[in-house]
């Protein structure tokens, strides 16, 4: 339970970090909060040759609301995002999901951007990112590029970040005026990885009818699964049936496939009902 040897550098700027990653590529790895990376190193499930520690890049420790988007820097800790009033007012799904990310002490150190880049299919923030259709800004030796959520997740623990690139920020759209959101999950113990979880976003038209509803699931596929629930209208039970018919989870030591499918249905019902309630409240009745 000790990490294997690795090289280490602690850059003072994004340019230095990108240069260090370029030198180390393809066996370098970014160390931000380390709350997923350090367990992998301690258990020797990951053996990078070189770590680039970005904890000195204070300029990436920001959370701001900018032109209809919440922008989260690569060094913003979960706890910082969770406690940011402007970010949570602009996109309440952030706080709903972050409260379920591990435990407070893990959230003190773990970063929201790192959690998304880590692409754990059991991660709450990967589902939030996929559902909202956010984007990641990547800085590399050949410049910057912006990758959208629908192209970002390649597989379990694999995202579209090249070995010489550093994810510097994530952008998430704010919640619309006639929209509501909710997050629901089931885990064996509070703070554990969820056996199944769902984030729901529902939008109402001028007449108060559901114009669009979508859900993103964790722990039912190798990447966050996004489903369109619009056809279920304002009937959560129907959305639950839809979810049960569309998810194809795998069994593992924590749950059977059938139990995960059952949870996907039940959690969809609950979260859609909550999201619709939230949307009606925001739309003013």
């Amino acid at each position: 339970m000790k990490p294997p040897p690795f090289g280490y550098s602690r850059p003072e700027s994004v340019a230095e970090a990108v240069a260090a990653l370029g030198t180390a590529a393809p066996d370098g790895k970014v160390l931000a909060g380390g709350q997923s990376l350090l367990p992998l190193l301690n258990m020797r499930l990951a053996t990078p040759e070189h770590l680039v520690d970005i904890n000195r890049l204070a300029e990436l420790g920001f959370v701001r609301v900018d032109d209809g988007e919440v922008v989260i820097g690569a060094l913003a800790r979960h706890a910082q995002v969770l406690a940011d009033p402007a970010a949570n007012q602009a996109q309440p799904l952030l706080g709903q999901a972050l409260a379920l990310v591990a435990h407070p002490v893990i959230r003190n150190r773990g970063t929201t951007v790192g959690s998304i880049v880590h692409a754990d299919p059991a991660g709450e923030m990967t589902a939030v990112f996929a559902l909202l259709g956010g984007s990641v800004l990547l800085a590399g030796s050949s410049g910057e590029r912006l990758v959208s959520a629908d192209e970002f997740f390649l597989g379990p623990l694999e995202s579209d970040v090249r070995p010489d690139e550093l994810a510097t920020q994530v952008r998430l759209p704010a919640l619309g005026p006639r929209a509501g959101c909710a997050f629901a999950e089931v885990s064996r113990r509070h703070g554990d990885y969820a056996v199944c979880g769902v984030a729901v976003l529902a939008e109402l038209d001028e007449a108060g009818d559901v114009s669009r509803a979508r859900a993103a699931y964790l722990s039912v596929a190798g990447t966050p699964l996004v489903l369109d629930l619009t056809e279920a209208g304002d009937d959560p039970a129907s959305a639950g049936r839809l979810a049960r018919s569309r998810v194809a989870p795998a069994a593992d030591i924590h749950a059977t496939a059938a139990y995960r499918r059952h949870l996907a249905g039940v959690l969809t019902e609950r979260a859609l009902a909550d999201a619709l309630g939230h949307a009606r409240e925001r739309a003013g009745g």
Binding site: P4, P5, N42, D53, V105, G191
Partner: protein, 181 residues
């Protein structure tokens, strides 16, 4: 190849060594460590502060929790080199200079919040930091505060009582901020 002295047993590798300076419980300490040295091991082996306990070494049990610049973190999920320059408070730093127990330590004694004591340093540091942010926790808050710490003896009920008792003691005696001075 190995640097001598107390590091010998755990530093017999070709690892490059880094000098790390930490302000631990108000005292500046330095250590020469490989990049892969966990902060928990640096505190215990390099600095001989064995109050910080190591349980699971993957962030689940919470026994190794220390305060880094006043914030509770898992010392097994942080590299010592990453902590260079930081102010660290370990369980040894909670007791007042005259030996008086801190409110959280006293509350654990009052409420029988420990049996074997292995997990206790992590609970004490976690609760100390949490009460700085939330001086009047409800019973539900207390459960959320300690949700990331495992204890195999007490059954947790007495630890929840100790959180609430610590809040009372703090308000009665004045807070004893740690890691913030």
């Amino acid at each position: 190849m190995a640097s001598g002295g107390s590091n010998r047993a755990i530093n017999q590798s070709q690892d490059e060594l880094f000098e790390v300076s930490l302000i631990v419980n108000g005292v500046t300490r330095t250590a020469l460590v490989p990049a892969r040295r966990l902060l928990s091991d640096c505190l215990r082996h390099d600095l001989r502060l064995t109050g910080t306990h190591v349980g699971c070494e993957h962030g689940v049990c919470g026994a190794c929790t220390v305060l880094v610049d006043g914030v509770a973190v898992r010392s097994c999920l942080m590299l010592a080199v990453s902590a260079d320059g930081a102010r660290i408070t370990t369980v040894e730093g909670l007791t007042r200079p005259d030996g008086t127990l801190s409110p959280v330590q006293q509350a654990f004694a009052d409420c029988h919040g420990l049996q074997c004591g292995f997990c206790t340093p992590g609970f004490l540091t976690t609760i100390t930091a949490a009460l700085e942010n939330n001086p009047e926790p409800s019973a539900e808050d207390a459960r959320e505060i300690i949700g990331g710490n495992l204890c195999r003896c007490t059954g947790y009920q007495n630890i929840v009582k100790a959180v609430l008792r610590a809040a009372e003691l703090r308000s009665a005696t004045g807070s004893n901020p740690v890691g913030t001075s």
